[in-house]
Symmetry: C2
DNA sequence: CTGTTAGCGCCTTCAG
DNA sequence: CTGAAGGCGCTAACAG
């Protein structure tokens, strides 16, 4: 085994052709005589030649790489998305460079800069916040950007979202139809567009049903398990808490249910949830009556489709896709 | 905004220095006069210069990128690992290129080739199977490789594993101590080292306790939710199923519990689980009495540590790390 | 302290 | 159908 990797030159020398011909062969250019091609391929085989994609990228100004930026990597939503994106993009020869923004704009900015220096051909991102001004320079440089799940302001990019307001409204109306009149809201900060839209769907459904949205029955936290645990505990510490709740996402839902599991059975009797997200472990969420299922894999497919089109150079004004959700009864 | 990205040359021209000086400044080389540095930095600012990392990588023969290959991206274990790795590696300026092997060696081989062509500086992988012969050429090329969670045969690489046998044994012994004598095993294929080792821990504990491992009480599937659901159903379809089970991982556990949730309460009364993995939703796994918690974040940290050392060029024989697990009572 | 120069490995006209 | 040659943007000797 040779210490150093064979280059296109070594192959050329061995096959007694020029590097241009080797390049043509390995790139499947048709304008090469069959005999020459065979000689080149034999040399490739013999030397264990492997193309240096970095050199190729430098020459072509494109890397066949897309960046994926998310506020955190350890979330069910993110991983399903990443899997869907990988499936779609790898078919077309793209690799995925993942990075976490740790839920802050500053870190997001750094990641974007990094990706941009690495000449990624496109970026898919779940923005950490509503703020999108730091993405301007990216756009100016011509790198396609597709938002997914959430959207940031101040920058015109394609986006694949779900109908958060509609889904939340539907779920809340289902609780109302079940006869609940005192309904609480357990959710994430309104600064995150997803949480805000779901809150709006909730309040709209309440208003349409002639019900009051009581501040005392509303709790905002982050979108994490611990937050769900805490705000559920806070809620139940109140004198007369509601029996039904709309919950903003899966993690909050898990946290809230976890809290109730630490309490006695009598404490959770008569408590009912309607919640965003349907996960493999959803059947275990005993208090869940309604869940709003998001088409996560489809979001990944659509984002990949749009990004691929942009990377192919297809122009046009930004596409804003809002996919529907499905209400499930448990 | 200029149509084309400024290069080191544009900066050099504007600052009236050579490209070498610009290179020194942007690479924080100290041997540059303060006045010159300032002029260069001003030009960098004015032109919005951004280093082309692809060109840099070509020149240096290193990309500050590590590949992460896993059988699937959509698993809680994988995503926690990815997060931990990203945290550790990004500190040192490395980015992560993720790809899925879709649980097959052929696909794994393709991904490895891709990563290797992209000149990643190192690879962390959860092998899809025991087979590791296709990783030989990678090793020969000098790219450091660290296995995590599982290990493949036929190739000498560093590995970060957990004590699967010990953890499974401990959990099984706990069930025995609770008075159970008829204990079933719900698990993954023995061709996956993780499942095989846990099965061995289970049988060892049974043997040590003077108990029989009955084939009729043993079910192998994949390591997924659906598999857990199915094998639990199969087990309970038997005339006289056991009341206690050791379950090989979180997904199988969720699947098995999901199945029991579809059945009446009387059906699951008296059924108890001991299982590998502790997840945020674990409190919802009502039938779980004992769980074996894996230090996933620590595995990521250790893998990153080893990989960074290898990428720094530190030699030595492969390091095989086996981290301990923690038995938790529920 | 700064500049000149020679590539890293590949692609791509342009000739032949 | 094939070869020669000039970079892509950056770094690293080597001079000065």
């Amino acid at each position: 085994m040779n210490r150093t990797q064979a280059t296109i030159r070594d192959v050329a020398a061995r096959a007694r052709v020029s590097t241009a011909t080797v390049s043509r062969v390995v790139n499947e250019d048709t304008r090469v005589a069959a005999a020459t091609r065979d000689r080149v391929l034999a040399a490739v085989e013999a030397l264990g030649y492997k193309m240096n994609q970095v050199a190729r990228s430098l020459k072509k100004g494109a890397t066949r790489t897309v960046g994926l930026v998310a506020p955190e990597l350890a979330s069910d939503f993110f991983m399903l998305l990443a899997e869907s994106l990988d499936r779609e993009l790898s078919i077309h020869g793209y690799s995925i460079l993942v990075c976490s923004s740790w839920e802050t704009v500053e870190e997001e900015k750094k990641r974007i800069k990094l990706l941009s220096e690495r000449l990624v051909d496109g970026i898919v991102m779940i923005p950490a916040t509503d703020q999108g001004r730091h993405l301007r320079s990216l756009q100016a440089s011509g790198t396609p950007l597709v938002f997914i799940d959430r959207i940031a302001k101040g920058v015109a990019a394609d986006a694949v979202l779900v109908d958060n307001e509609g889904g939340a409204r539907e779920a809340t109306l289902a609780l109302v139809a079940d006869g609940h009149r005192r309904i609480g809201f357990l959710g994430g900060s309104l600064e995150v567009s997803v949480a805000r839209e779901r809150y709006e769907g909730f309040t709209r459904a309440m208003r349409e049903s002639g019900l009051e949205v009581e501040d005392a029955f509303t709790r905002f936290g982050s979108l994490h398990v611990e937050s769900g645990f805490r705000i559920m505990a806070e809620m139940l510490a109140r004198p007369d808490p509601p029996g039904a709740y709309f919950i903003v996402n899966a993690d909050t839902h898990v946290g809230a249910t976890n809290y109730l599991m630490t309490e006695g059975r009598e404490r959770r009797d008569g408590i009912v949830f309607a919640s965003f997200d349907e996960m493999p472990y959803s059947p275990l969420l005993q208090l869940c009556r309604w869940s709003v299922s998001q088409p996560i894999a489809e979001m990944g497919r659509q984002a990949a489709r749009i990004l691929l089109a942009r990377m192919r150079g297809e122009g046009g004004s930004p596409e804003l896709l809002r996919l529907g959700t499905t209400l499930l009864r448990h």
